[in-house]
């Protein structure tokens, strides 16, 4: 038998395998991307470099929010050799037990992640990876540890940066940063666990502008996660870029001065530059040192204290406290009355105390006098005319028509809605409309007599101090305003476009003059309610308010702008439980105005009286 033919069977096998493998390799290497992608996944690591956060300047170019260098003490378990736990504990000032617990905590906690597929927490801890053993050490702390680290192989220092507030003011406005939570990591690819995010205030509103651009480095790594070399010689790497600085319209000098004045008081100050809408100062009292909430260590120590404080230092009053405005509301009522034609600037009403109480003063013969005397019965009469214009036959329908019209005016003043300033956490206040009262009393079940207390800024009406300051700015501008905002410029860009469009009220400029005249008299004439705000060489126009408070002492309010002819500052001061508006709020406002315009205080007695006043018992940490 001849088996020679069988050589071809064997040759066929060899050639078949050769071709099959060639086809397979052509498919794997040239056609299909799967394995190339898998190789990238296996061998390349992205390293993200977080730049320091953008810094913040005030209007005078002072750096009011900066970054300070901190250090993390990192550990790599694989590199730790013969650790003298006792010596190490002594070095970092811990007990041996604490050190052991921290090790356990890292192994259990730091490395775990939530596995979506299994729905379990899986430990991802690896002995060869770096984990922070101690976080956020200050320069002083690390400088006592670092020189001895060579005795403890496996421990390194790593530089990181955190916020620093050199002026210790504006805490409620600037807000604070804290670590991102899982939802934030999942919804925004920018963040990785452990990153910080703006939690409130400007830090939150301008998070995207402040966080900058992360640098990404691709490196080739080994299976043990050691970097071997940059991938493709760094062709795809991007460098980290710190965000452009924010320049605020805020004037840190009057901001910190305002905080000083408001010590031992509850309340707030809001100052706006009327011509631009830039917020010059926004004081919330009581407040706290913003440095108290920098970093995880500080937050875990101080946040609970601040949150549980019954004086609510974390509460940003200028944005969120909704108060009845009291008598300052009469300014707006006068304007609406004149614009609607239900009164003229020369309309007079007797001070008829049968409807509502008033203090002793002569009857107002015109709008200016009504503002000067802050005559309650006068505004009952005015607002009655606004609400009950007689346009509808039935009383209730007429009130509905009138109130809605009034509501539209109020809305044009930015009231009853959030002002959309560039800071998170604003409240809308409340300007009731017909629907609102329908809910309370039923449709066509109410008329002016039911709701009359709104005419003097009591009852259902509520404004935030920011709204109040904006009223002063509108009057200073005679009928228009820019939405109040903090940020003047971002890098080379000006403020956001929504802060560059003028908003006009529904009231003509000419109707503002009698009101302004009245406000001048409030401060500068005998018989005005805010004579304590008078300044020698700055003409202040203002209006006091005393807000009835069913829970205790009345609140003291004052809004003003100055100088009268070329307004540079519009201000609202609200002091809780301080009684009459002229006594506390007015002098505080005048001090702020003088400090802003003249940079010095002439009446030291006035300043001393305010600084020494204790209107609330406040024992806030950090203040």
């Amino acid at each position: 038998m001849n088996f020679d033919i069988r050589r071809y069977v064997i040759l066929a096998f060899i050639i078949l395998v050769g071709f099959l493998y060639t086809f397979r390799l052509f498919y794997m290497q040239v056609v299909d991307d799967t394995w190339t992608l898998r190789a990238h996944e296996v061998a390349e690591k992205r390293i993200e470099i977080t730049p320091p956060r953008g810094v913040v300047f005030d209007r005078n170019g002072m750096k009011i929010v900066s970054n300070r260098t901190y250090f993390n003490l990192m550990m790599v378990e694989d590199e730790i050799k013969h650790l003298d736990t006792a010596a190490f504990a002594k070095l970092i000032g811990w007990t041996v037990k604490d050190v052991r617990n921290r090790f356990k905590e890292i192994v259990k906690g730091e490395g775990t992640y939530y596995n979506k597929i299994t729905g379990k927490r899986t430990s991802n801890y690896q002995k060869i990876r770096k984990y922070p053993f101690l976080k956020e050490l200050t320069l002083e702390e690390i400088s006592s540890i670092a020189p001895h680290l060579e005795n403890f192989p496996g421990f390194y220092e790593k530089v990181t940066s955190m916020r620093n507030y050199p002026f210790k003011s504006g805490a409620n406005i600037m807000g604070y940063l804290s670590e991102v939570n899982r939802e934030e990591v999942e919804s925004d690819r920018f963040y990785r666990p452990g990153d910080n995010i703006g939690r409130s205030g400007i830090e939150k509103f301008y998070e995207r502008e402040l966080r900058g651009r992360k640098g990404i480095k691709y490196i080739v790594t080994s299976a043990l996660n050691n970097a071997i070399e940059p991938f493709a010689d760094g062709k795809y790497d991007t460098t980290a870029r710190q965000a452009d600085p924010l320049k605020l319209g805020m004037d840190m000098i009057i901001q910190s001065y305002g905080e000083k004045l408001m010590k031992n008081k509850k309340g707030c100050i809001v100052a706006i530059e009327p011509s631009t809408g830039e917020i010059l100062a926004m004081v919330s009292a009581p407040s706290y040192d913003p440095n108290m909430l920098v970093g995880k260590r500080n937050i875990s120590e101080n946040y609970p204290k601040l949150a549980l404080d019954k004086n609510m230092p974390l509460f940003p009053r200028p944005l969120q406290a909704e108060y009845p405005p009291g008598s300052i509301f009469k300014l707006v009522q006068s304007l609406i009355g004149m614009q609607e034609g239900v009164i003229t600037e020369d309309s007079g009403f007797p001070c008829d105390k049968s409807m509502v109480g008033c203090h002793n003063h002569p009857s107002a013969r015109n709008v200016a006098e009504a503002v000067q005397y802050s005559c309650n019965p006068y505004y009952y009469a005015v607002v009655r005319r606004i609400i009950q214009q007689g346009k509808k036959k039935r009383l209730f329908a007429d009130a509905e028509y009138g109130l809605n019209k009034w509501h539209r005016y109020m809305t044009s003043f930015g009231l009853g809605k959030t002002l959309d300033a560039d800071v998170s956490g604003q409240r809308p206040g409340l300007i009731p409309d017909a629907k609102y009262y329908d809910k309370w009393y039923g449709h066509h079940q109410w008329a002016f007599s039911t709701i009359r207390s709104i005419s003097i800024g009591q009852g259902e009406v509520k404004l935030t101090p920011l709204h109040m300051a904006n009223i002063a700015a509108i009057i200073a501008n005679k009928g228009w305003y820019y939405v109040p905002h903090f940020v003047k410029s971002i890098g080379r860009k000006g403020p956001l476009v929504e802060y560059r469009t003028k908003k006009r009220t529904m009231v003509n400029a000419k109707h503002f003059w009698p009101v302004i005249e009245g406000m001048r008299r409030v401060v500068n004439e005998n018989g005005g309610t805010a004579r304590m705000a008078r300044l020698e060489n700055i003409m202040i126009c203002g209006k006091t308010g005393t807000v009835q408070n069913p829970h205790g002492e009345d609140h003291s309010v004052f809004i003003a702008f100055a100088p009268m002819n070329k307004p540079k500052i519009a201000i609202a001061v609200f002091v809780e439980n301080a009684g009459f508006g002229g006594t506390w709020a007015a002098p505080i406002a005048s001090l702020m105005i003088e400090k802003y315009i003249k940079r010095k205080i002439t009446d030291k007695e006035k300043e001393k009286r305010i600084l020494e006043a204790k209107l609330a018992y406040i024992s806030t940490p950090g203040q």
């Binding site: 050589r7 040759l11 493998y21 040239v30 061998a43 080994s222």
Partner: protein, 464 residues
Amino acid sequence: MRKEESLVEHLDWPLFITFMVMLVTGMATLYSVAYDDLHPAIYDVSMMYGKQLIWIVVSLFLGLIVFLIDSDIYRRFAFPIYGFTLLLLVIVLFMPAVHGARAWIGIGSMGIQPAEFAKISTALLLAKYISGISVKQQNISSVMTASAILLVPMALILLQPDAGTFVVFTSFLFVMYREGLTFDPIILSFVNSIPGVRFKETWVGSHFIPILFVMIFISVITLLLNSVQLDFFFLPFPVSGSIGVISTLLIFSLLSILFLQRFSAKRERTRGTVIIVLGFILTSSLSFIVDNGFNSLATHQKDRIELFLGLREDPNGKDYNRNRAMAAVGSGGLLGKGYNKASVSSVESNHVPESETDFIFCPFAEEWGFVGIIFLFGLYLFMLIRIILIAERQRSIFNRVYAYCVGMILFYHFAINIGMNIGFAPVIGIPLPFFSYGGSSMMSFCMMMFILLKLDSQRKDVLR
């Protein structure tokens, strides 16, 4: 003097040069894979490449000795050599286990693996036995004797255990097939025991080995591709694995028929076509049956088979090595990443364990890409085909059988080792000849080649 002249004159230079090119390529690949900045010298014996260089030098020295000794001794001493390696295979079982296998005599890098040398001695004894029997004697007893020559070392190797080398020993079945030592006599004795049946031979019986291997190969490929959706660039939709296998078979069958119509004699043509058509029907239905049979298995049975084949979708677990290896190979692309640029499979990065030994194909494929693969496959296929041609030109049956043994062993290593790297074969650890790091395998493959070259150079001297 005369002898050396005749050696130079009669040496098969194409094979010798291919062999040397392969040694150089292999050494270069290992140098690239294991390169360490701190020890850049290729002769640095503290590094793998330094050691490998020593092994190569030792192997070349052994080769020189082989060239100087008369080739007759292999034939004469085939049985003592076989006996000696069997003894070593027994001794190795009493050695301490390394990585769970008692494969080493000696310690550390200076140890040797007797299993590697058992391949040579088995080849020699098989050659001697087959050359001693005539065609007439091909009956049950001769088939059994030849099988026994294989089975004894195989059993000892399985005890180590070393599954890879065990599988490699089945390559000798192809040699037996070539020499007509098929299992046909055994099958015939069964078939002819049926009254009234009188076969001289059965087709299945005489081609039992290749048919078996084709069936195993197609079944394994079908199973490996069972859960895979294949995306072909020329097809708009993905196809399931078994359809891919069947269509590949169809393409090959059509190609072979075309080939037959064009190049073979008329008489052969019909017969060949019938065989190919039958073969296609058989293999594709096998693939279909395996695919469906597997899908209808109970989960735990499936699991077991998948585990055996290393098919678990667990890139970081059981399938770690294959997955990383395929990533490395696939990432090479058309032109590769360049010499010394293997980012996935270098020893330093260590993403592919054993990338210097069993998975050395990875760094080669990663660094040189598909172009490099063409070169490597070219070398290997040329070497294998050249060995078959050399085998067929021998006057002595001993030489021919030995040459076939060498060819089939190398073919097995090539097919299984590279199959492992591209997901076509289960991961069983066997080295890639002349590339993988390791003294025993390097020396054993070189000796094999040198003995072959020596036997071939003396093919005209003697007629055995």
